[in-house]
Symmetry: D3
Subunit: 291 residues, 6 copies
């Protein structure tokens, strides 16, 4: 399944809310140290410095944070969102009232490091399947409160997005199947019930764990079949079965080591929770000097 390479815009209202909340959380406007030590007219400048190699994501978030702190801060990035940086690379600079820069630094970096971490982890998976017709997507295993930003970072890293939440996509999981079976329904009947109860704009995706279940999903005319925690051979067999009838998504235990083999099994989509729930923050610093 091919994938758009365009990075979508961030919801400006969501961006503003999350950044202001973070500034309030960090007491950025009540910075006792800076208020005691830095007079309002002292100016400073700083450079953004990568200390790890990776993909930068979150430049608009950092820009929003500094703009919220003080409109007099000017900020220029010498790279584009999604560019790769090497350790030691300077990728932007800012100038303005020194006190404001110091008070906003931590919040800006907390976002930038975390989102760059997710983008970098995503890029690693995407690069590992280069040339194959497969889409790498996120899951709902995101940080509470940051789903919009983290999904954005996945896009910046070259991945695509799964459903946003429980309300905008149908995914019949093992427990839903079990619930249906307890009421005497088989998989095709469960698929039909989901289709009857949901908006017609949504595809019906169902999670299966065996080849036999994949056959049932096919019988029920599922639109998408999630192959959960199957080994590569099973996955390939199921993918062949479903090719042309349903999209297939591989999920569970995907790592940088095995993702190419999974993709070669012929699935259309590979989802990864670790790119959001366990990505290592990219080490970035802001080196400041007095103007």
């Amino acid at each position: 399944m091919t994938n758009s390479t365009q990075i979508p815009p961030l919801d400006p209202d969501a961006l503003r809310n999350v950044v202001w909340s973070a500034l309030e959380e960090d007491g950025a406007f009540r910075d006792v140290t800076t208020q005691a030590l830095v007079p309002p007219d002292q100016r400073g400048r700083g450079v953004f410095l990568a200390k790890d190699a990776g993909v930068i994501a979150g430049l608009p978030v950092a820009a929003t944070a500094f703009a919220a702190i003080d409109e007099e801060i000017t900020l220029r990035f010498s790279i584009d969102e999604g560019d790769w940086v090497e350790p030691g690379q300077v990728f932007g600079e800012l100038e303005g009232p020194l006190g404001s820069i110091l008070s906003g630094e931590r919040v800006a970096l907390n976002f930038l490091q975390r989102l760059s971490g997710t983008a970098t982890a995503t890029r690693a998976l995407v690069d590992a399947v280069a040339g194959l017709p497969v889409r790498v997507v996120d899951t709902r295993k995101t940080t509470p409160g940051l789903r919009t930003l983290e999904r954005y970072a996945v896009r910046v890293g070259g991945g695509a997005n799964h459903r946003y939440n429980l309300a905008d996509g149908i995914l019949i999981k093992d427990n839903h199947i079990a619930a249906g079976r307890a009421r005497g329904l088989d998989i095709p009947q469960i698929i039909a019930a989901a289709r009857a109860g949901a908006p017609h704009t949504l595809r019906v995706e169902i999670e299966v764990t065996t080849y036999a279940e994949a056959e049932e999903a096919l019988a029920g005319a599922a639109d998408v079949v999630l192959l959960d925690n199957m080994n590569v051979e099973e996955m390939a067999r199921a993918a062949r079965l479903l090719k042309g009838h349903a999209l297939t998504e591989a999920s569970g235990g995907v790592t940088i080591a095995n993702i190419r083999a999974v993709a070669e099994a012929g699935v259309d989509i590979i989802s990864s929770g670790s790119i959001t729930h366990s990505a290592k923050a990219l080490d970035i610093s802001l080196d400041i000097e007095n103007a």
Copy 2:
């Protein structure tokens, strides 16, 4: 510096807000799949199952999430907050309307996995310095929006907390020193200025990077001296200098591999950003069955 082992309560208002926001973010009350497939009167039960070894943190958060989804869900944990679990260990169970359980599962797990990850990473550092009079603390490198919860997880893991934010602690960093020097002040004068401008209830902590700066901090009667990115020998020398005059905090590049050596250098406090910004989520699942 010794440390209280008591786990403080979570701010109930903050807890409620963060959990409700997460449920809204995940569309938990508009779960199209579950609403189409699970009738309101179908009941289920599930068990919480650890799939990694680690420290569990966030039981009250998970409980709040399920209570918010549906007051009819009952939930019992067989361990206490902060207990260690082994892979395969069942540590709790819940029972109630199956649809509600399915709709709340992901949010509850997202919190539980993340907070347990931070608690586990903290415990590793704390255990590595067992027997030494040193306090392991967090930093402001937390997830935006989750600082209260992550600092709580650090306490659950046996660590202590640094200042909450810029408003409730003084920390004169390298850039503040540079700003002062640009105005002709030396370190003792900078410390005096911070003391003059801040509430008398706050200690004055200052970051130094060399032994010479530590001597200046001593001359300025700093209450706490943060030894930033020093090697262990320098740190030990500075700690000896300051012993009895100021608390000392080691910061920068602390890992499980070197923390004991750092502690043996004689510092009172060791701070770590990685326990909040890069902790790996602890793998936990909720295994559900029909009642």
Copy 3:
């Protein structure tokens, strides 16, 4: 296309917010007349009386309003949500502190009358296509702030829901097609672009206005084709073309007079804006007496 008859639950958080906002808007807790005239210990009872014939929707909303005003009010409905009432029919009663009943009456009725109006209008359309395999759905032409409630009322009236908003469904409208053509794309390419840029959980729906465009939509393998403002003959021709390849949705100018003919044209879905944007409120009163 068949449709589930199950009424989904209302999001309790959304319900609470919208009801509290309405009570604040109406000054229900600062009712100067009632506070001056009705002592706290005076009790009253009242009955809900239908003055028009129609479908009742919003019983849980009315119940939430009275519970918010005063937990001592008890309320019992003698019908179920979605039942039909005749003029003069009493369908519920409440008892409690008289002042609280008077202060909450208007807000409760404002919701109940409006939602019942939408449910009644929906039921009329649904009944008109009885026996035909077609789904009657709403549009995004809802009252600002009340989309969740109005979509719920559509379900209560026997209809189904279209996408909730711009974020959870793809609908390529005439302007999107024109935008694509301006960039040199034909309809199959536009469909492919939408598919590439959106989550794989969403179907791709496209609006066409001619049979020729319907052929292009077929060539692009659209999942759903909206036949906009076509006459019944064109619609039937397009529906035959697409049968088995895509769902078809009829939209534009649907009335109680023509809906059966539209359905007989063979479309799967018929959408109506008037059931939300121009439904007449159902006349309902609360007849109160002193206890």
Copy 4:
């Protein structure tokens, strides 16, 4: 009773909140279709086109919606708020980033159509009583959440406003009278109690249903007497009785067919719930083309 013809300004804070909420509700910043299909640099223009005849109300609301979506959109209306339009009449145009225009269109139209519907219904009643000294006013039967906007639309349509809510006007209704009688009070005593308990800046209005009650209201020196559901003869008799002593308001069952007769009965004020609770949305479209 004469009436000001000046249209009051809309509360800017209320306007902003209601518009932003509606945009969030519609997912206007997360429009998956537009984001996939319309590049940020593609521009468009559109015209506002009336498809029904009526009074336009809500131009500032539509302007606020498009400004919130994208500050680069420019918008010009060729009519004034409150002007009459004919079917086919173009009354404004806008130009800017095409994607932003498409994402904001529905919310802007939802407000504009609804408010124009209320203004049009109001104008019909006002025109029907042209030349008579009577004020046409709204009621509290407004859409929850939209009272401020709907009352504004009534003003735009040439009507006036009744009290905003329960807190800023006294209206002793039948149930209040019954409550007082149950405690042994007659109508003059009830009026006195209301006067004693409320701010002196409020008139005391009382609802009566018979001529005898109107006599009691006069004895109690009510400031305003609401004549509820009386026939025209009774109303005229009561109006003559009260002339010079109290204002009179007619309420209940007022339609375009009977309003002139009601006005000729000599009342000062006529209130109508249908102009807010059951106004038909005015059909307006935004015709868009690529720039």
Copy 5:
């Protein structure tokens, strides 16, 4: 003008919001001292002790604060809202988790002392005019954010309320008159314009500063005339002029020393800003002991 002696209920939603905000402002759930020193199972009890003489107002506010902190706290007051206390008098007691009591104490007392201060100041004025047919009312000179509570305290102190805010009462002040005169209007015309532009449920009150202006107000049939900063003789003359035609309100420079003379001048209403903007907090303490 007589006045109701009934104390109206507090808006529960407003009460909850203002109390929760105050608890958050005071960090009541993050009380580092108490969390470090008082274990969760240690219990305490305390008594409310008056240290000044005065009227107690705010018992429900204090109760709400302690209930918000910890539902296990039980609280009993031995007096009623509005009762007079003497220095040294115990008027209530509470029992519960000691830590919760300590964390909530300050917020509860801040409200109780301030509201009791306003009630006490009001009572002093009310007592000074005992036996005279005059109503003592507040103004809009209240503490930002606390208007609802302070107006309530005025009622508890035996006073009455003026309009709540600019939206729910008409008061034509000197600057409005000057604005009208600049446009060529005289006072009767200004009164007519206000009447034309405002809901018919509001009286028209106008501020005058001379007897001549009072005559003009009478000519314009003002409903209420505010006599601003007149001496007692002028006031008496104006009151005689207006008796039977309009209510009269004395305002400006009213003190405990001169209020009886002002009342004897024959006005209906006397307003005082000092009872809200400059009332001295009543000294109240909570004496706590371990259970």
Copy 6:
């Protein structure tokens, strides 16, 4: 203890929120009188006039209020924040749409009068201890909702701030000591427990009421000792004991009459609740004329 004379900036987000809330509370955008009487194009100007002598605080708050009401209002102050004014002194002027000026006047003045009252009361205490090495500070006895602004006013008046709230400073009060004693702890053990349980960035302050307790506090190495309600001789004795070992704070019953004696007793800090809980509003008016 010396004190910075620099006035810190106000948190812009907090400022905006508190001002907007106050404007909404006062109905400033729904001012029925002004909307009926002042056309949008009528302009006015006004001057700020002091009617009492005192310190002006809150100029940025007043400016924010008028800017929020109408961006066209221009405003110039001829004094600086914190300057002293005499009765009759004009200290600023504004010009703009007259209606907007009238609608915003009361809220602007309510803030300005109250904050100036606190600044003036603070200045009186500060001046009374001129030349002595003592810091005058506020307490937590602030107006609910206005702590940030009132603490700011204390700074404007030349005072300093105590801890912001329970979360950012440790203060072991008599009840905490009693709680500890009930568990068998003495004062040094209580101090140690607080130190163990709190961030290392906070000083430990303890309240004592006798010389003997002061000795215990010294033994426990408290950082700050609050001498509560001691007479001046005791205070002097305790201050001598603790000099060089801990800061000392005098609290309780401090007045303009006795503060110099208290300061001469040798304490470092004097705290006063009355400057926030009982400060008299400074009388300020806005004299407006038509432009």
